[in-house]
């Protein structure tokens, strides 16, 4: 595998920008020719995966399309019909499969997502709010000049700040953003523990085709992709989910139940997730947070569950153990290598300090964006089987403690031992700590493909 062509791949795919501010603008196309003209103009400002030799830019711009959007751009029917069926259907139609029912069902989503008007996602990331505003202004003037689209909504997101510095914490107070996989050919400062587990216990990059279309995947096959090949190559699929966080409910539940738990509140919180709030993996430090581990790139994602089969350090149903089981399912981790995703999330809404009263009604949560070559094999499988069902994790019908659509009926078992501060414990009547407020499936094309779309040159023959 030679090095990938970073100038042909959108930068959002190849690297987490770690820029503290973002705005996701949602567009609707009314006229294909004018929309194509807009995309042509946008190409001038789209951020590619080219290396940042002169430091981080002030701002970045990226674009992706729903299937409806590609249809509005009048791609040939033979191309539109060649996309994987789950992408053609869109996330709303997949609600039953994904367990997006009850209060997570599409009729409860934000108005933007209840309608079928979103054709494109334009993501602006920036060093400052001023940079975001400047990029928004450029985007709006291009839209105005070309009359290429109607803005149907936007979503602002920002990292939670601590003493003026951007953190990777989310609203429940946990440090997030560990554990994105490495892929062959993607330049990145790699850490042991990323990628896939090898029989000798080392970690290696995943096949490129788990992330990008047009390359061999972990099965040695090309991922299912639209035709022509050049439209798909260097592109990927993205799931966008607006996940509302019920901070008040989370805090109240934790407080109420930790009263009966011998390990105390912070330990119970860590047992939910599998990491202490500062990010220390429970597996490596079951008794207390250890900043030296979090800060050590050789250790903070470098662990397995093999020596903790009973879950007495990290519960078998803890969030991170369920969604990234590492070696926990045996077979040297091979059962999970085709279920990995690259996450690009950011929090939205005003953060609320631990000592400040919180309300579930305030707009607050995480914009979850995950990139994968196959929405159905990767994202949908994880959502259906590992989040909304517990069989693979040997947790019966139990859903993921943090993300599950529990509806007040959920259960989570904290395995323990005979020490007083690490007792077994059962959390029952789990409410929904996280609620889905909308989202969709997007195709993130390569720079070449964007050019073909802009020029109306997509030819499936």
């Amino acid at each position: 595998m030679s090095k990938l062509n970073g100038t042909d791949i959108q930068g959002f795919v190849l690297r987490g920008y770690n820029l503290p501010f973002a705005r996701y603008v949602f567009l609707h196309f009314e006229d294909a020719a004018r929309a194509r003209a807009l995309i042509g103009r946008l190409l001038e400002i789209i951020t590619t995966g080219q290396r940042w030799d002169h430091g981080k830019p002030q701002r970045t711009v990226n674009i992706a399309f729903t299937h409806r959007g590609l249809a509005a751009l009048e791609l040939p029917l033979a191309t539109l019909l060649s996309f994987p069926v789950e992408f053609q259907q869109g996330m709303k139609s997949r609600a039953t499969i994904l367990g997006d029912t009850g209060i997570n069902s599409p009729e409860c989503w934000d108005e933007l997502w209840r309608e079928n008007r979103v054709h494109a996602w334009v993501a602006i990331n920036g060093q400052s709010i001023a940079a975001i505003e400047a990029s928004t202004a450029s985007l709006r003037s291009l839209i105005e000049e070309t009359a290429g689209a109607v803005e149907v909504g936007w979503q602002d997101a920002a990292a939670i700040m601590d003493a003026g510095k951007a953190t990777t914490r989310e609203h429940f107070g946990f440090t997030d953003g560990f554990g994105n996989p490495d892929y062959l050919g993607v330049e990145r400062s790699t850490q042991p523990g990323q990628g896939k587990l090898m029989p000798d216990g080392t970690w290696a990059p995943l096949a490129t085709g788990e992330l990008l279309l047009g390359y061999a995947d972990e099965a040695g096959e090309l991922p299912v992709a639209p035709i022509p090949h050049i439209l798909a190559t260097n592109g990927t699929f993205m799931v966008y989910r607006k996940l509302h966080q019920n901070v008040a409910t989370f805090r109240a539940y934790l407080k109420e139940h930790s009263g009966q738990y011998g390990g105390g509140e912070e330990k119970l919180a860590a047992k939910f997730i599998g990491r202490w709030r500062d990010g220390t993996p429970l597996e490596l430090s079951p008794e207390k947070p250890d900043p030296s581990i979090v800060q050590d790139p050789h250790r903070n994602v470098n662990f397995t569950y093999g020596s903790d089969p009973e879950g007495t350090r990290c519960p078998i149903g803890a969030h991170v153990r369920r969604v990234h089981p590492r070696d926990a399912f045996g077979f040297n981790g091979r059962l999970i290598n085709r279920r990995r995703m690259t996450r690009r999330g950011l929090t939205y809404g005003r953060p609320v300090a631990q000592n400040e009263p919180a309300s579930d009604r305030e707009e607050r949560g995480v914009i979850f964006m995950a990139l994968n070559a196959s929405l159905s094999r990767q994202f949908e499988f994880v959502q259906q089987q590992w989040i909304e069902y517990g069989n693979d994790a040997h947790q019966g019908n139990d859903k993921d403690m943090l993300m599950g659509n529990h509806g007040g009926q959920g259960k989570f078992v904290v395995q323990g031992d005979t020490t007083a501060t690490n007792p077994p414990f059962i959390c029952s009547h789990l409410p929904n700590f996280v609620e889905l407020r909308g989202g969709d499936y997007f195709f993130l094309p390569s720079i070449t493909a964007l050019g073909m779309i802009a020029m109306g040159l997509v030819d499936p023959r």
């Binding site: 069926v85 789950e86 039953t96 499969i97 029912t101 009966q260 159905s376 949908e380 499988f381 259906q384 089987q385 069902y389 069989n391 019966g396 019908n397 259960k411 078992v413 414990f425 059962i426 959390c427 029952s428 009547h429």
Partner: protein
């Protein structure tokens, strides 16, 4: 040892389907139509007969030709494939089926060559055994315990979990008293019906995510 794992028996039966040009629709289509109407879950005939962990009925038409360089080959007959993980012993299981759901069995297998009907239980068992293949692979989710033992274990697991969740941190003397009451009550509960202990899911495709 093939066919048996603990208290569980792996049964595979291939019954040739009658090839009669005059039958309209053909016998294989008649079986397919009947199978498509059978309920799943607790209403399934196999949940109503004793001792079934898992049952699967498939009409096997032929070998699929996948194109060159494969060689085109054909089966001598269409087959009805019946696979089940059931409680041993086999004679007891088959006679239990014949007793519990005779109409279903006759409606399905009457389209197969040489099927004698369930009215004569001995002949029915002999026929099924004549069609039996050796089974060495079991359905992965079935353990080696009998159906009633498995159902009782699931019921106990669920009840004990609920008990713990409701009694964590209780003062020991009261906990013991309530636990003894709980055990007495649990022991007097009937074994749950097969098919009732799984997750309640809107999806009816057996977990296939498409």
């Amino acid at each position: 040892m093939p066919n048996q794992n603990g208290s569980v028996f792996g049964l595979t039966i291939l019954s040739p389907i009658i090839d009669d040009e005059k039958a309209t629709p053909s016998h294989d289509l008649q079986i397919r139509k009947y199978l498509a109407t059978l309920p799943t879950g607790p209403e399934s005939p196999f949940a109503q007969a004793p001792g079934t962990h898992l049952a699967r009925l498939v009409v096997m038409d032929d070998v699929v030709f996948v194109g060159y360089p494969a060689i085109e080959e054909h089966l001598q007959s269409k087959y009805l494939v019946f696979e089940t993980n059931c409680d041993a012993d086999l004679d007891e299981y088959l006679s239990g089926l014949a007793k519990a759901v005779p109409d279903h069995l006759d409606a399905i297998w009457s389209h197969c060559v040489g099927y004698p009907g369930v009215a004569n239980s001995g002949a029915f068992i002999e026929y099924m055994k004549a069609c039996q293949l050796e089974t060495t692979l079991f359905f992965a989710a079935v353990n080696d315990k009998s159906v009633p033992v498995t159902l009782r274990a699931l019921q106990t697991q669920r009840a004990v979990t609920d008990f713990i969740a409701d009694h964590q941190g209780m003062e020991p003397a009261r906990l013991q008293k309530e636990f003894l009451e709980f055990v007495g009550k649990l022991e007097s509960e009937p074994v749950p019906k097969p098919g009732t202990m799984g997750p309640q899911r809107a999806l009816k495709t057996g977990g296939r995510n498409e």
